[in-house]
């Protein structure tokens, strides 16, 4: 089982792609570098969401809370209390993890079912947004402006531009590799049995609570860390962007379009949709605000209606057909 992960880790394709990607700052103008950096941020966020939302089938709408804690709390700690942002990152990641465990526990303790889980997480997300908008320590409605990024690594600064790009490339890689690792580890199998049939999973002795909490905590901590890096890149902690449930909805939609529960699905969705959105915003944002979200919505509806399991499985089927042009008879394992 684990071999699959080590095979991925030692794959020349992976390292080739990473090295080529790492060279991008030398080839791209700052505008396109910004788009790629944003895409990587959303690759990381969608992949981390997928651990709980896709693999365990628990559609969490609470991820804006974790991203928001990572972004707003670490900024507030730096600006109001002078706490180094590396330490702020750890503090906010720990708080996000605890909150994630709490939400997973509430869900399990009361056997809330799918709908109520979506709702409980949405309620937590809304509460987070209200607290941030109403509490001046966290920036209130006007947000927090971080000091200029001078590239001081010890102060969690990466110099913007290419430095930020490399950080995001690292984070995106970590999140995708974490997904591959989990999918190939016992945890991944347990999560899938929980997704497919929770009662059956419990009946065969899977410790449902433990694995649900594990998935939620890993997912929350990763999202929180990405949140801190995101706000450092933006240099402005904007509550309407970073802790609004809309950011979670975007992430959920990227993951759905790419392919839920797959290791590379959410990354594919984010890599396709974020640049599309950014280019549309760049071209038409001033004349038609909202157009890029409108198009996200249309794409998502079209993909869900056409191929509910997402684009990645569709591509895989096409690839398999291309490699084997003869249609194979349905065997016992094909369905």
């Amino acid at each position: 089982m684990k071999e699959e992960f080590y095979k991925t880790l030692s794959s020349p394709i992976l390292w080739g792609v990473l090295v080529l990607a790492a060279l991008l700052p030398f080839a791209l103008s700052s505008y396109y570098l910004h788009i790629v950096t944003l895409a990587l941020i959303y690759v990381a966020l969608a992949s981390s969401w997928n651990i709980v939302g896709g693999m365990a089938g628990q559609v969490s709408l609470a991820h804006s809370l974790f991203i928001g804690i990572g972004a707003m709390l670490s900024s507030a700690l730096l600006l109001k209390l002078g706490i180094n942002m590396w330490l702020g990152l750890l503090i906010s990641a720990a708080i996000s993890g605890v909150l994630g465990a709490l939400i997973a526990w509430i869900d399990f303790r009361f056997r809330l079912g799918h709908l109520s889980f979506v709702l409980i997480t949405l309620a937590f997300a809304e509460m987070g947004a209200i607290v941030v908008e109403g509490w001046d320590f966290l920036g209130g409605a006007s947000g927090l402006l971080l000091p200029k990024d001078t590239g001081d690594f010890l102060a969690f600064q990466f110099g913007g531009g290419s430095g930020a790009f490399w950080v995001m490339l690292t984070l995106a890689t970590v999140c995708v590799l974490a997904s591959v690792a989990i999918l190939n580890a016992p945890l991944g199998f347990y999560l899938r049995t929980i997704r497919d049939n929770e009662n059956a999973a419990q009946a065969i002795g899977v410790n449902v609570l433990r694995y649900k909490i594990a998935a939620m905590v890993i997912s929350a901590v990763l999202a929180s860390i990405v949140g801190t890096a995101y706000v450092r890149y933006l240099t402005f902690a904007d509550p309407y962007l970073l802790i609004s449930p809309v950011i979670t909805i975007e992430i959920v939609l990227f993951a759905t379009v790419g392919g839920l529960g797959r290791a590379y699905g959410p990354a594919l969705g984010a890599l396709l949709l974020v640049p599309l959105g950014e280019v549309l915003r760049g071209q038409l944002g001033s004349t038609l605000p909202g157009l890029h979200y409108f198009i996200y919505g249309v794409v998502v509806i079209a993909v869900i209606l056409a191929t509910p399991s997402g684009l990645l499985p569709l591509l895989e089927r096409q690839w398999a057909r291309w490699r084997r042009p003869e249609p194979t008879n349905a065997g016992p394992d094909a369905n």
Partner: protein, 288 residues
């Protein structure tokens, strides 16, 4: 004490409209198991249609419903027929994601047409007040209260004593058995969804006078509606109206008695507390 009465009155008046918003969602959930995460954006759509009618023809929101309710009902039928029905029977979560996508489309469609500036739609009754002793009630809230409860009672009677109502209840209890009895389940589901969206057009007009509106407000209405529906026990009529009143009261008390950020949190805190002790909702229903 005056504050207490004021909060009570205001909470009950607004809460009744929340109950009305949630009845449509509860009905739809009952007959097709669909939870519509674009619910709040349909409310937005209703409100902005009133705004457009006001700008074009200076129609009062209360008059606009003659146009908005039929239009929204037709939109609801089309949305169900072409977007949601293909997904019924698929995994529950795919419908959630589909309606989240629809929410983005509606919200940003409105933004593209009307721009992002907050807008208001005036009404003749907007500044009228009812004064009961020390308690001051705004006329739009009183009108919303009366119409919401009248409509809730009307729906209840409709469910109990008309053929359509009986077929809705039959499909809710057991869609297979209902189909065997000759009920066109698909038709009942389309009509219920269309009706649920049509009610929203009315609720939108009731909420509108004096309220600033923004294209991005939809999600908050969705969340409020969901809180109410889950508190009420999903498909229980009385429970849903009760849930609406609880959320309305929590909102009013939070605004009057607590400082931000705590005030607006109150409905959510009460919701989480109730869910912790009564995960099945306020009433007996065991639906999840």
């Amino acid at each position: 004490m005056i504050e207490l009465y004021q909060a009570l009155a205001q909470g009950l008046l607004i809460g009744s409209t929340y109950g009305l918003l949630a009845l449509g969602m509860g009905l739809v959930y009952g007959v097709s198991g669909v939870v519509n995460f674009s619910h709040g954006d349909f409310i937005s759509l209703g409100m902005f249609m009133c705004l457009a009618l006001y700008s074009a023809l200076s129609l009062d929101p209360y008059v606009s419903v003659i146009i908005t309710v039929p239009v929204m009902t037709v939109i609801g039928a089309l949305v169900y027929r072409f977007l949601i029905r293909p997904m019924v029977g698929h995994q529950f979560l795919m419908v959630v994601q589909l309606t989240l996508g629809l929410s983005l489309v509606l919200q940003n469609g409105i933004l593209m047409v009307f721009g992002g500036q907050p807008a208001r739609t005036p009404s003749v009754v907007e500044s009228k007040l009812f004064i009961l002793g020390d308690v001051v009630l705004r006329a739009p809230h009183v009108i919303a209260f009366v119409i919401s409860f009248a409509l809730a009672i009307g729906l209840y009677v409709m469910l109990r004593s008309t053929d359509f109502g009986r077929s809705i209840r039959a499909v809710h209890q057991n869609a297979h058995a209902a189909a065997l009895m000759g009920i066109d389940v698909g038709r009942v589901q389309v009509l219920t969804f269309a009706m649920g969206i049509g009610i929203l057009a009315l609720a939108a007009a009731l909420l509108l006078p004096g309220t600033p509106i923004q294209p991005t407000q939809g999600l908050r209405y969705t969340v409020i509606t969901l809180l109410v529906v889950v508190l009420g026990g999903m498909t229980n009529f009385v429970g849903i109206m009760l849930g609406g009143l609880v959320i309305g009261l929590a909102e009013a008390f939070g605004t009057i008695y607590l400082q931000p950020p705590l005030g607006p949190l109150l409905p959510y805190l009460i919701f989480v507390a109730i869910m912790l002790f009564r995960p099945q909702g306020l009433t007996w229903s065991s639906s999840r």
